[in-house]
Symmetry: C2
Subunit: 579 residues, 2 copies
């Protein structure tokens, strides 16, 4: 039977609770957002005693449904001041699913000094003092905990940035090989966990009851349809674009579209794009002899396998993984065209426990402020190390792009709701701009990935520069995404379900199979909309209204080369997304 | 004829404009808030090209109406993100009034490097490059400009903090003796002027036409009544409380009431209160031989004369002035009981061009973060010097208390709308708490000074600890204050006009005399309400709503010694102030 684990850090109690009836059909983002809405006072200080962290695997997570190893982390974001859900692909998600854990709730704040680790198995949980892990890097935590608890354990942890309550701190999960590398990165939820004194959560899956599947036949049928879709779509199939080159295959594509934000969103084309492209990553991996380093998967049962392990010149491992967003954030966005520098910057993020997107956008703003020159990879590495040192400068940078911009009086700050923009330029790709601007999460490409039709001709084909139709496009994508994030699927199944009807049916059938529901594909946007509604209501109570559904002002008056467009979708049009 | 001077820093144009009909009856805060509302896009970046600075003397300012030398500065605040009006008492206000200048508008942003000075006389204005003043302290600017333009000039300037666009930078005006010491301090408007490249404004009053008084007899009658009131009221009369001990006479009074915020708002009583009290200031001034250093006036024609000049041990001048708010901010709030240290901290604020309240509250938060120990005056001085150095740490501190608290993960941050709270504890003095929380300006005691009836038995007598009646009390005080701020009177006339009907009539008659209007004393709250309405509308468009009319969360769950109360006025009650 599904259960909730509630951990109160104030009285150090750990309780097993039944799942309330109205939570039974929820998982992943739908559940974390609902529980945050129900339990967290919207006006609380995100790092104070009244915020909570909710961790929930998706509905089908832990089954053999393809690419479904996602886990959502929710809470009030120290970065945006609004509700936050951030999810990661990791075997840990599947362990939680198989343990039939609906949610782990961490609440309250300890009186004494921590940190603690939360140990969790099929019977419940236990808090264990872990003073020896204080200040440790994420890889050090994983090494220590795998040693103590065995290699089959699942480990969730925060790096020093989370302990130091920095707004860009993420929550780190181990990958397939135990690396501390898979992140629910966005929005600073690692700082919330840090503010509660929780350094790590260790999951023991022994004798897990497995996911309760109400209709096995329907579920199996759904898995088959979805798997076939993923295996046949050009983007997601084995040997396809994502599998061969990783997500960084997008570098050249966005650069050609004039939509690759360059040097802190001052240009849309990066002259060094080729040097940091997915193609160059694949070449480098092959040249340096890294067999099996491309087409890496972040959790068992992923058919897409878009991750990678980037090697040093001697062929040994440098970091996993150099994804599009991280590559762009420290590459084009900082004017850096050296992949080894980019890899090192990503490695530091993983070690400190910070979001690579926020860190890269912050670096761009810091370069704009003159702290380091655009293009100076070694300078950027030194600057990022300040975050690890928890120096005065590190405390500025560690709080993200808007905070850093404000510290230095910069006005070109590419954020929405104080969250740094990802790797697509809103002035060149208008639909994704609408998503950044109107998502309750702040600027987030995963909230409604209109890049599919705007750039990749998936799920239709629309002109990225045109504003027409982008309101409806973004809304629908955001709604469907909220459902996908709750089902527990990787967002990248979107390519297949957008283009292949049977794959889409398959996804819904797997959910129906697990839950015993009778959802139709056409119900998906409505179901997603319910989650978005709750998230927006929370935000309103937290003081985030339609006035915050706005682009950064500079995008209204600065034209972006090469297309020389401003962001021209009006406030009224933006408001129509949710009205 | 009244006129507006419009300075565009982008094209470096300086234009004289007529006063639109609907601005004719406005002055001071009523005019700055109206023009900000009319001209500044509410969602602009406060330090970007679309924000403006509006400087406007009060309606009667420049006449011989007593204690009426006030000038308002308005704009969108970098600190609060909302509308801001901050006013100062200074002879400069009177010069502007006598020149019949309704408003100086500074807009746009220069392409080339500044700074400039704006020279202003009866015929208009002129921009003069002033590279030589770059980075200069406010006293250095005043010295240079009085040398160049003569001792009769009026000087408005910003210190290095404003040039460096720090959120706590104020706008500085000279006092009676030419000191750079009178501040429109709150809300960071100095940073806005800095973002426009304006280092100083020099006013040449030669051949000024004087204030146009429509009904001289009525005006004279009003002056007489008001002056009689000020001369007879115990608080404001010559030799009365304010005149004898300065505003810091409040230290002992608030301390006895358990409402003197101590060590970053963690206690309501300061054991070192006596050592920093107004009585001790007066004793120290007398002992050190500073004749004429108490009972100092900030502009000609002030009957109250509550300012002071604080001497060093050798009797020479240290700083003007040690006011209650500044004294408290660096004293009780930082646990510092050494007046010489407090004086030096105030002097540094004046030199750097920063708000003493925000700087002191920031220091308290920095002490909470452990940067310096509570009570360490010398440590505090060193820390504040970082702001002057524009160091990394200085850039954190220079952005104020909320920014500093966020930089260091502090949750006890005593702010409303990101502005630091002044010297009265909301948990012990509930009415002023309502003012802090519901004023469109952010936490600001001058926005509705309910201390009068709550602590001083002026304008009635109410229990400071009780919540009953405080909503109506604060609302009325805020409305009347908005009128007083627009008329150009010092807020301290409130003591007389609250207790003495004829003084109140006199105030209204002086305004009617100047404007030719026929306002009645009972119209005052309504007229003030019109300004508040505009300010709140601007804020709503800037994303600041009733959700931001809330106390800092910790005041809801932390009881304050010695009364051990939380702030118990509910959200619904707070919302009823403006509904």
């Amino acid at each position: 039977m599904a259960w909730i684990l509630r951990v109160n850090m104030r009285d150090q109690s750990v309780k097993v609770e039944d799942v309330p009836g109205d939570y039974e059909l929820l998982g992943g983002r739908a559940l974390t957002s609902r529980m945050v809405y129900d339990e967290v006072p919207a006006d609380c200080h995100p790092l104070g005693p009244n915020n909570k962290i909710i961790i929930s695997p998706g509905v089908v997570t832990g089954t053999n449904a393809p690419s479904s190893g996602r886990v959502s982390v929710g809470g009030k974001s120290p970065l945006t001041g609004g509700i936050k859900e951030s999810n990661a692909g990791t075997p840990v998600a599947q362990k939680l699913g198989r343990l039939q854990i609906k949610a782990v709730v961490v609440e309250g704040q300890p009186d004494k000094e921590g940190p603690w680790i939360l140990k969790l198995n099929k019977d419940g949980g236990e808090l264990i003092p872990a003073q020896e892990l204080k200040g440790k890097l994420t890889s050090e935590v994983n090494e220590a905990l795998f040693k103590d608890y065995g290699e089959k354990a699942g480990v969730i942890n925060i790096g020093p940035a989370g302990e130091n309550r920095m707004f860009m701190a993420g929550v780190c999960f181990n990958d397939n090989e135990g690396r501390a590398s898979r992140y629910a990165g966005r929005g600073g939820l690692g700082a919330v966990l840090g503010s509660k004194g929780v350094k790590a959560i260790v999951i023991d899956e022994a004798d897990a009851p497995k996911v309760d599947i109400k209709d096995q036949d329907l579920f199996k049928q759904g898995v088959k349809k979805l798997a076939e879709g993923l295996r046949s779509h050009d983007v997601t199939k084995p040997g396809g674009a994502l599998n061969s080159f990783g997500t960084a295959v997008l570098i050249n594509i966005l650069n050609e579209a004039g939509g690759l934000p360059t040097r802190n969103f001052s240009e849309g084309v990066f002259d060094g794009a080729q040097k940091i492209s997915g193609e160059t990553i694949a070449d480098t991996v092959n040249q340096r002899g890294g067999a099996g380093m491309m087409g890496h998967s972040c959790h068992p049962g992923c058919l897409i396998q878009c991750s990678n392990v980037y090697p040093k010149p001697d062929g040994s491992e440098h970091v996993s993984c150099v994804e599009y967003e991280s590559d762009w954030a420290f590459g084009a966005n900082c004017g850096i065209d050296n992949l080894d520098h980019v890899a090192e910057l990503i490695r530091l993020c993983n070690e400190y426990g910070i979001d690579t997107i926020e860190a890269g956008v912050t670096m761009g703003v810091a370069m704009e402020a003159g702290l380091v020159k655009f293009g100076d990879g070694e300078g950027a590495i030194k600057l990022l190390q300040e975050v690890g040192k928890n120096s005065t400068l590190g405390r500025i940078l560690g709080n993200g792009s808007e905070f850093t911009g404000n510290a230095y009086g910069v006005t070109r700050i590419p954020t929405v709701k104080r969250q740094g923009m990802p790797a697509y330029e809103p002035r060149s790709v208008k639909g994704i701009g609408v998503t950044y601007i109107t998502s309750p999460m702040g600027a987030d490409h995963t909230a409604g990935y209109t890049i599919a039709p705007e750039i990749l001709s998936v799920g239709g084909q629309v002109d990225p520069l045109a504003k027409e139709g982008k309101i409806d496009l973004s809304r629908t994508f955001q709604q469907v995404t909220a459902f996908v994030d709750s089902a527990g699927y990787c967002l990248f199944i979107a390519f297949a379900i957008l283009d292949i009807d049977s794959a889409n049916e398959g996804m819904v059938e797997t959910v129906n199979g697990v839950l015993g529901t009778n959802y139709k594909p056409e119900d998906v946007p409505r179901l997603g909309a319910e989650t978005l509604e709750i998230e927006r209501e929370f935000n309103q109570k937290a003081g985030i209204t339609s006035v915050h559904d706005r682009p950064p002002e500079f995008m209204r008056y600065e034209s972006l080369p090469p297309h020389n467009r401003t962001f021209d979708i009006s406030d009224e049009e933006l408001d129509s997304v949710w009205k």
